[in-house]
Structure formats: structure tokens, C-alpha cells
Symmetry: C2
């Protein structure tokens, strides 16, 4: 094991040294490239360390339950009363037969929903309807009842245009870089290029932001960051309820993601550091000549397994 | 740089060698621990390489749209007709006034939902109702219309018991390891320990699995893996619709996550490699003495920003 140092030049003498430097460089580069990992690691360490606020620990595995609430000791429990809205034709004694009819009707209603990308700019749904559907999304359960969501409702034509520009620019890069010009040309006939007219024609855009963390006062009265667990799952569950509310009100939408536009959208809409755009939903009424792809949904037997 | 090899013992002579081995070991361990990263890397490389199936590329940024469908060229477009169920008291000309009333009623209905963890074992909702609510979840939009979900419906008491054992075992480790005995004792009065009676008392458990990837026939007629994009977002949106359907049918549920129980649950329920458990929902009717924490939801002004 002594031969490397017997009169060989500098490089040969120190090859192990250079190799180790190179390995460390590669590791750093790898970690840097996947910074999100650092976040995960941070969360991981936070989780495995006993927490000062003993209730935080449970945030990680349960939604909306009493044990997941910060400061559980101070939260009263109250009897649960079935408290269905007076406006709804829904008796207090929820009979099983009612359940069959209601569940069938609700399936038929939801099954008539389609994702639409051809919008009419008129009529404009009243703001009250938009507020009601967003309030409905806000009834969603969430991890530790953090309610980590912000719904930015855009009706301003100039801002809609800017959103369209941002998203189309990202899409165009995406298409051209990944697909090649030929393919883009080939697909033009199908109106499936990066042009997203609906971002301007739809009377409303809802841009859904998840809150990655929140803020709370610590024991010394200082504001500090507090982790929000399961924010993406929570916000998507809320969006499921939002989509059902949009459809129930007779409007249509398209569930789309902002891809790489998050930073530009945040700047445009003046959103705080702790938020990230996860969905863009144009909302309104379909264009007269709107079409949808002729596709089917999976059968119940393909999505359900019953163990009885 | 020559001093280490001048008659020093074996270890000192080769310290660089041992250091490099140790660094490589740490790197491997790091990568192994975060295997998901490998998946991301794989996806990353897949994305940046031009794809043979030119339509796959768009899977990554849009839900349920025609351009995101595999083999777009073969999918017909059909006119979109507002096609609300005959059973529903919903006229074809969706008047705006109807939208206001409907959206308000729907908000009131959904706002009466609470997460419940005290279940009655009777009455048992008819299987038909459970099928209807799962069919309703199946109407959700999904990234590239992959519909990457499986709903395992458990009514078998022995399997429910086993699910409870698996989840409680994980929870107990979690509590004891992270919280300490004292805290666990302190919280017993609030019924907020790792005991999850509701997993046995609720007449049904729905365990929701996301499909991380799918299978398709390639050009040579061989079955190969096909990536499912945005599966978790898609499945959570479907669960939002599922939760609305459960509530609409007059039943209650608790939105909970399986934490570290995925592998054991998969083995118990005989799920394939491409699935991962993401939510456990007990479904049924509340116990007579069910309580809920006395908490409020955020106001509309706290969750909505209107840019008009």
C-alpha cells in the first residue's frame, strides 16, 4: 500500500485526495439540485424530535380530529347533533331509504360533470355564487384543521390576460423544448397547442394556493413559523369539494395545474412566501360550440374492491 | 503531503481511502433513505427526453383535457351538451337565480359536515349506498384521465379488526416514541390516545389507494409500466368528492391517514405493487354520545382574495 508515494508526481500521490473532493462536490451538487429534499429532511428531523408543543406531533397523521388540534387541552368538546340545513329537504332522522335515493341522485348529478376548455365570456355568474362555492370548499377537512388554502378569484380582464401570458409562455417553452416543432404543428388542428384561450374568455379564474406553513405566536409572544402537515392533500380534498360545488351550481371548469408558473403567478397576485399555486380553475359557462373528448369513466368494478 | 506514509501504521497511511469509503457509504445511505428521490430523478429524466409517445409529455400539467390523453389522435371530440340527470330537479336552461339558491343550499349542506370519530355499529348503510358514493368519487377529474384510484371497502369484522391492530400498533410506537409516557397518560381523559375504536365500530372502512403507475401495451404488444402524473392530487380531489357524497347521503366519516401502515395494509388487503394507501375513512352513523371539538372554520375573507 506504499507504492503511490514512491517518487510519483503530485497528482498520482494525491489521487485519493482529489477523488474525495470530487465525490463531495458531486454530493453537494446532487443535494442542491434537489433542495426539496432538504425540506423533507428538516421535516423529518422536526418530527423525530420531541416537540415543545406536545400536540403538534399528532398533526402528521390525522385530519381534523380533536387530537390533532394545537392546544387540545383548551378545546371544548360539544355533543354532535345532526344539523343539516333547514333549507335542505333533509329530515333529521336520516332514513336509509333516503340515503339510497340521495346517493343515487348525487351520483347522477356528479356523473354529468365534464372538464371543459371552451368557455363563453357571458353570462358572468354573480359574485355571490362564486363566494358560495369558495365558502363550500372552505368546509373541507384538513390536517390538524390548518385550513391551509387561499382561493384567489380573478375577474379583472387585465389580470386574466397576464395569467394567460404567464401560463402560455411556460407552456410554449415546454412544448417546443420537449416536443419539437413538427409535433406542435401536427397538433394545431386539434386545438391542443399551448394556446389557452379559456384563461381569458372564462369570466372567472380561481387560482388555488396551498400554504406550506403558517404563523403563530410563541410563548414569548413572538410570531414564528408553524408547520402545516398534509397541506397538499388537504387543499386537493378542498378542491374536490370546490369542483362539486361549481358543477352543482350549473357552471363548468377545467382542472389544470400551473406547472412552472408558480413564481410568476405569486408575483403577479402578490401572494406571501408561504403560499404555492397548485391549481388553476377557469369557471363560467361553456361556449356554444364547446366539445369534449369522447372518453368514458372506469366501471365501479374497476375502482372498488369489496371485502365482506 | 508525503508525511503520512513515512513509517506510520496502516490506518494513518490509508486515512484518505477510509474516508472516501465512509463518504460513499453515507451517500448511499442517504440516497437509500430517500428512495422517492430516485423516482423523481427517473421522472425528471423521462420528462426531459423527447418521448416516443408524443402525447405523454403533456400528462404533466393538465387534468382531464383532450391533449393529455394517450393516443390523442384516436379520440373523437363530441359536442358538449349540458346533460344534468333527469332525476335531478335541474332545468336545462341554468338560470343564474337558480345558481344563487343552489350554491347557497349546497354550502349550507356541506357546512353542516363534521369529522366524527365516535361511530355506532348500527344501522349499517346498505351496500348500494356505499357503491353509489364510491361511483361518485370515480367521477372526479384526474391528471391525463388516468383515474389512478382504488377504493377498498371493508365490512368484514375480522379484517376491520386487523386494520385497527395495524394502525394502532403504528400509532402506539409513534406516541410512545415521540411523545413520552407522561403526555400519553395526560391525554387519556380526552380519549385522544392511539386507541382507534372507530376502525372496528364503523360498519364500513374505505381505504383509498393511489396508483403510482399503471400498465399499458406497448407497440410490440408487451405490457409495460406507464407513469401516472399527479396521482396524489387526483386521488385527493376524488376523495373531496367522496367526502361530499358521504355527507350528502347523511353518513359521517373521519379523514385520516395511514401514516406508516401502508406496507402492512397492502399485504393484508392483497394490493398490487403500484398502489399506496393514502387515506382511511370509517363510514357510518355517529354514536349517540358522539362529540366534536368546538372549533370554527375560517371566514370567507380569510380564504378568498378577489381581484376585480
Amino acid at each position: 500500500m506504499q507504492h503511490v508515494d514512491m517518487g510519483l508526481p503530485f497528482l498520482a500521490n494525491n489521487w485519493l485526495f482529489f477523488l474525495i473532493i470530487f465525490t463531495i462536490y458531486l454530493t453537494c451538487k446532487f443535494v442542491y439540485k434537489h433542495k426539496s429534499l432538504l425540506g423533507n429532511l428538516k421535516t423529518y428531523f422536526n418530527k423525530s424530535t420531541p416537540l415543545l408543543n406536545s400536540n403538534d406531533g399528532d398533526h402528521s397523521h390525522s385530519f381534523n380530529s380533536q387530537e390533532t388540534m394545537p392546544h387540545i387541552n383548551y378545546i371544548h368538546h360539544i355533543p354532535f347533533l345532526i344539523n343539516i340545513s333547514k333549507n335542505h329537504n333533509y329530515s333529521k332522522s336520516l332514513l336509509l331509504e333516503t340515503a339510497i335515493t340521495r346517493s343515487k341522485d348525487y351520483f347522477n348529478l356528479m356523473n354529468s360533470r365534464r372538464s371543459i376548455r371552451f368557455f363563453s365570456s357571458k353570462p358572468v355568474p354573480p359574485l355571490e355564487v362564486m363566494e358560495n362555492i369558495i365558502k363550500t370548499a372552505g368546509t373541507s377537512p384538513s390536517g390538524a384543521h390548518c385550513q391551509p388554502w387561499t382561493f384567489v378569484l380573478i375577474s379583472n380582464p387585465r389580470i386574466k390576460k397576464e395569467v394567460r401570458n404567464i401560463v402560455e409562455m411556460e407552456e410554449e417553452i415546454n412544448y417546443k423544448k420537449r416536443m419539437g416543432e413538427k409535433w406542435v404543428e401536427d397538433l394545431k388542428f386539434a386545438r391542443t397547442n399551448w394556446i389557452k384561450e379559456y384563461l381569458e374568455t372564462a369570466p372567472y379564474l380561481i387560482i388555488v394556493f396551498k400554504q406550506v406553513y403558517g404563523y403563530q405566536n410563541n410563548n414569548e409572544g413572538m410570531v414564528e413559523k408553524t408547520p402545516f402537515y398534509y397541506q397538499e392533500m388537504s387543499v386537493c380534498i378542498a378542491c374536490g369539494i370546490l369542483i362539486s360545488a361549481i358543477h352543482n351550481a350549473g357552471m363548468v371548469t377545467l382542472t389544470s395545474t400551473p406547472l412552472n408558473s408558480n413564481n410568476k403567478l405569486k408575483r403577479l397576485l402578490n401572494r406571501p412566501d408561504n403560499e404555492k399555486a397548485i391549481l388553476i380553475l377557469p369557471v363560467g359557462y361553456p361556449a356554444k360550440d364547446a366539445t369534449v373528448p369522447n372518453i368514458k369513466r372506469k366501471k365501479l368494478s374497476d375502482i372498488m374492491v369489496h371485502i365482506d
